[in-house]
């Protein structure tokens, strides 16, 4: 059996463009989703009426249903309600909403691991709850869950391939298109898989570098 990787060369710029789409929808979903996730955690842990129940329900629904179902509902279901999203936006919205539910739980673990004494020290200095959260608790909490957040980020990147199904022009979508044009199934999947692998590895390395810079004040094992 012979492989013809050369047949893929004409598609390299198409693959590069598609890879970039995968990367940026992941970056958007991670950034917006993490912010939303922290808000979900705050809503869940807070004392406002109704908000904790709504936040919990949201987290459970999104964590306990397949991403594919969420994606279909957003892309094919929302138009029934008069909301039409193109594939790219539908994919970004689905990944963001899904990611928020996971990061909310990751951040919950992070905030719960911050020693209560730090909060008390902040309060004893006259800081309001929101100031304690921003200036005292946030960084130690993030440090404690940074590896879990990195993991979530990589999973999200790989899961973004699911959005190929609704025609989002990302890497997997491009791989499938190239396959149907060239019938070089093994070759294109090998190349595509390698691209996912390499980019995930770069994310992991970047995360390590970021971790040692952002958290140079202390290693994880210490309080």
């Amino acid at each position: 059996m012979t492989f013809y990787f050369g047949d893929l060369l004409p598609f390299s710029s198409q693959l590069a463009a598609a890879l970039w789409v995968s990367i940026y929808i992941t970056l958007i979903a991670m950034a917006v989703g993490s912010g939303f996730g922290v808000l979900l955690y705050l809503g869940k842990a807070g004392t406002l009426p109704v908000v904790p129940q709504v936040s919990s329900a949201y987290i459970e629904v999104f964590r306990n249903t397949p991403l594919l179902v969420q994606l279909y509902l957003i892309y094919f279901g929302l138009p029934e309600l008069g909301v039409n999203l193109n594939p790219t936006w539908a994919g970004i919205v689905a990944l963001t909403l899904n990611n928020a539910a996971y990061t909310a739980e990751i951040y919950r673990a992070g905030f719960e691991s911050v020693p209560g004494g730090l909060v008390e020290a902040g309060r004893a200095l006259g800081m309001r709850g929101s100031q304690v959260f921003r200036h005292v608790v946030f960084m130690p909490a993030t440090r404690n869950v940074f590896p879990a957040l990195t993991n979530q980020f990589i999973l999200l990147f790989l899961a973004s391939s699911i959005a190929s199904i609704i025609g989002l022009p990302e890497l997997m979508n491009s791989i499938l298109n190239i396959n149907s044009e060239t019938y070089r199934t093994f070759e294109i999947l090998a190349v595509g898989g390698l691209l996912y692998f390499v980019v995930s590895g770069v994310f992991a390395l970047g995360s390590k570098a970021m971790e040692s810079y952002l958290f140079r004040w202390g290693v994880r094992s210490r309080a």
């Binding site: 020290a121 200095l125 006259g126 005292v136 004040w217």
Partner: protein, 240 residues
Amino acid sequence: MIVVKDLHKKFGSNEVLRGIDCEVAEKEVVCLIGPSGSGKSTFLRCLNGLETITSGTVSVNSHMVSDSRTDINVVRRQVGMVFQHFNLFPHLRVVDNVTLAPTKVSRVPREQARQKALALLDKVGLADKTHAYPGSLSGGQQQRVAIARALAMDPTVMLFDEPTSALDPEIVGEVLTVMQTLAREGMTMVVVTHEMGFAREVADRAIFMDGGVVVEEGPPAQVFGAPRHERTSNFLSKVL
């Protein structure tokens, strides 16, 4: 300056403070002593509202801490607190630990807060550690930073909750020295401590607590030298 009347504190059905009356005058140094579980720390934490008060009244600088309508943050700005486990902010350099509250709570300009922090760190003997992170400091150094952090808010009262209990014996002294200096400068201080030597030497008044009540109080010479209650002498015979 501090007036406490008939203070009760319950955790669930467990009554930890059973009616405490206490006054602390300006510039007075009061040491709270007693066995663990006697309610000393809980009492201290009621003074700045870290614990909610079940019944009775607490007022500090004529702010009613026990009144839920009081803005507790106004009181806390005037009351410094030092904890057993230091509780420094691990992600901030020493100098930033000290400037955080002044800049965020009191809106002191950054440079002014920094100058003041450097002066305070010099005072507690840590001028060379301003840019270190807390994790790289010894316990005694961390506790001195914590004292500087509390002083940066210009408190009128300082509360110390077993400030040396988590320290190795040979570095207890460096923290006590700083506290002694503060006392000499006229800071009003309430100190929960097991350092009987410090209580005897530095305090104007010693309060012996047991079982959530004040058993006995008076000048340290009297409480330590000629305790009037059996419970006090029993306790002292165990720790001295």
